[in-house]
Symmetry: C2
Subunit: 348 residues, 2 copies
């Protein structure tokens, strides 16, 4: 047991599994095509459309060059397929952009789970100096308020007297993000009875991820762990088994993960368990984007989390299964951004 | 006449006017809702859709952070509403991004007219080291060819044996850009008989731009000059009247314009006459994006091009007219980009 870094992982899981009842924590489930909205942010067509506009609006960044979509590209994987993202002024972020697709199914957001909701998450990058770099909430609200068309849309979506607030900006973006769901992957169709939708390698891979133990963590409808109350994260230590050849090669421990937020020793190298949904599309992998291919990511995970070294055909089968988790991306209309006639909102 | 810098401007215009017949060069015309395609690049639905994908695909840039749409945002004004654009690595470009909306009506592209067509234009920024920064055409073709889905789409659009070529990438983008047309502005509706579509100030402004002489250059369906054969540009010196207070204030002469391309003395400070279509949305103004508001841009133009100082109410009226040139932006579906399962195409 000397290589297992901390037992509290296992304890957390055991408790979780206990809470949910044996079996259910490891269940493979289809992805729903809808997600529930929080009671304080019900969806409406007006709010979702406003959120889409804001998601694509680079004026939420200081110099007008970076929108939410810049790093979470919904035309593609919901990421930027880069190791780390590039923000205002060409600055590099510290971690790889997680996909926005199906993020609505996570109970906490960011790699370290420091946001309890999509609403909380949306407030972060806008003010992060290496991302969208707005100086403060007031500057964001002032700019959005000054754009003819936006205040009216906020009023329609939120029906308040002072509709453009930082909180409402985040709520609108979150409402849009709850529409970013990719159901009906080959795996989902298989679960629903279409036995031909999975290839033989994918079926073997599906068995392997369960027998090897991958689904101890990657389970549930989103393959990101058991369904937990909003705000309660499902975290694991990465690497769990210390000292593998991959740890140094991919610099896996330099970033202390959840510890950076909580400063609690037991949170060192703890990370929110990421989704497998569309994982085939979101290379490069891990919090630092250090691993370029899914094959290698599978090898790394088997070694660091399960202390197992996979054979090549096992890797191939697991990747085939993971490929089968690529869902159907909904058709969307392009947003039309309200403009500022005769002037620009960008000062630099 | 001592302040008029070069007579060849006037000569060019005189010749042009002569060619077109008196009157027609100054005509105000509605914007067509279609534009002709060149014979070597006929449009098809498959080609336009492919072009839209490429236009939005940041993998056309070295580090995967910049797409055509980054600087020519079709969700908005077709520009980035910045003084100059920001390319890969946070590098600043030399000139302000012209709008892609209605660019199809221009006979030459770029501020200095150095591209004879949309196809030629599309080839530039991808390889420009301060824009998308790809090292060479082969690297672009190799990357696009390596993305499953693209080669098949190119084959459908171009029906060739080696469909992914740099030329075909540019052709597809140009085909998409020819759909970016904004007809039915209030002004267009006025011309077509809806006399209520223009306000009184806008009507006064319409008279003013003709009586003052603005439409000597800003005429035709696109307000960018007379209809000329593709590749033949309509250029004017800016400033024509040297030594105004604005010249220094806005640093108008440091960039020598078309001269930078041709190295001919007579091209110093010569620029393609830009469109007035949607000009209210494309602040900041001029080749260096130095003027923040349309009001001020109107004052500058009157002084530098016509040697006139406008009264405030004249400026207001002209801006009202220019506002009436904001057209209807077509509804578009979002493109879906082909992905590279299990790997990323971005190396850095």
């Amino acid at each position: 047991m000397k290589n297992i870094r901390l037992q509290s992982n296992k304890l957390i899981l055991a408790v979780t599994v206990g809470l949910l009842g044996a079996g259910s924590a490891y269940a493979l489930e289809p992805l729903p095509d809808k997600v529930q909205c929080p009671s304080d942010n019900p969806a409406s067509a007006a709010k979702v459309e406003l959120g889409k506009q804001l998601f694509f609006d680079p004026r939420l960044s200081r110099d007008g060059t970076v929108s939410c979509n810049s790093c979470h590209d919904v035309h593609g994987s919901g990421t930027d397929n880069r190791p780390v993202s590039i923000g205002v002024g060409g600055k590099a972020g510290g971690r790889s952009a997680p996909t926005v697709w199906n993020a609505a199914f996570l109970s906490v957001q960011f790699w370290d789970g420091r946001a309890a909701s999509l609403e909380d998450q949306a407030k972060g990058p806008i003010l992060n100096p290496v991302e969208m770099a707005m100086p403060n909430e007031k500057a964001v609200v002032d700019r959005i308020s000054s754009i003819p068309g936006y205040p009216q849309q906020f009023a329609k979506a939120f029906g308040e007297k002072t509709p453009v607030t930082y909180g409402n900006i985040a709520k609108a973006i979150a409402a849009y993000e709850r529409t970013l769901i990719t159901p009906n992957s080959p795996f989902d169709r298989y679960l629903k009875g279409d036995k031909k939708s999975l290839s033989s390698p994918a079926k073997r891979g599906m068995d392997l991820v369960q027998s090897l133990g991958c689904t101890t963590c990657h389970n549930g409808e989103n393959f990101s762990g058991p369904k937990l109350p909003q705000g309660q994260g499902f975290f694991m230590r990465f690497p769990t088994y210390a000292g593998s050849e991959y740890e140094k090669k991919y610099n896996l421990t330099a970033d202390l993960g959840r510890y950076e937020t909580t400063k609690k020793d037991e949170d060192k190298n703890m990370w929110r368990v990421p989704t497998w949904r569309n994982v085939a599309l979101t290379a490069p992998y891990f919090h630092n984007g250090s691993v370029k291919t899914l094959d290698e990511a599978v090898r790394v995970m088997a070694r660091t989390q399960l202390n197992k070294t996979l054979k090549d055909d096992e890797v191939t089968d697991i990747v085939s299964f993971l490929d089968s988790l690529t869902g159907e991306f909904p058709k969307q209309s392009m947003p039309r951004l309200p403009m500022t006639p005769n002037r620009t909102t960008i000062e630099e």
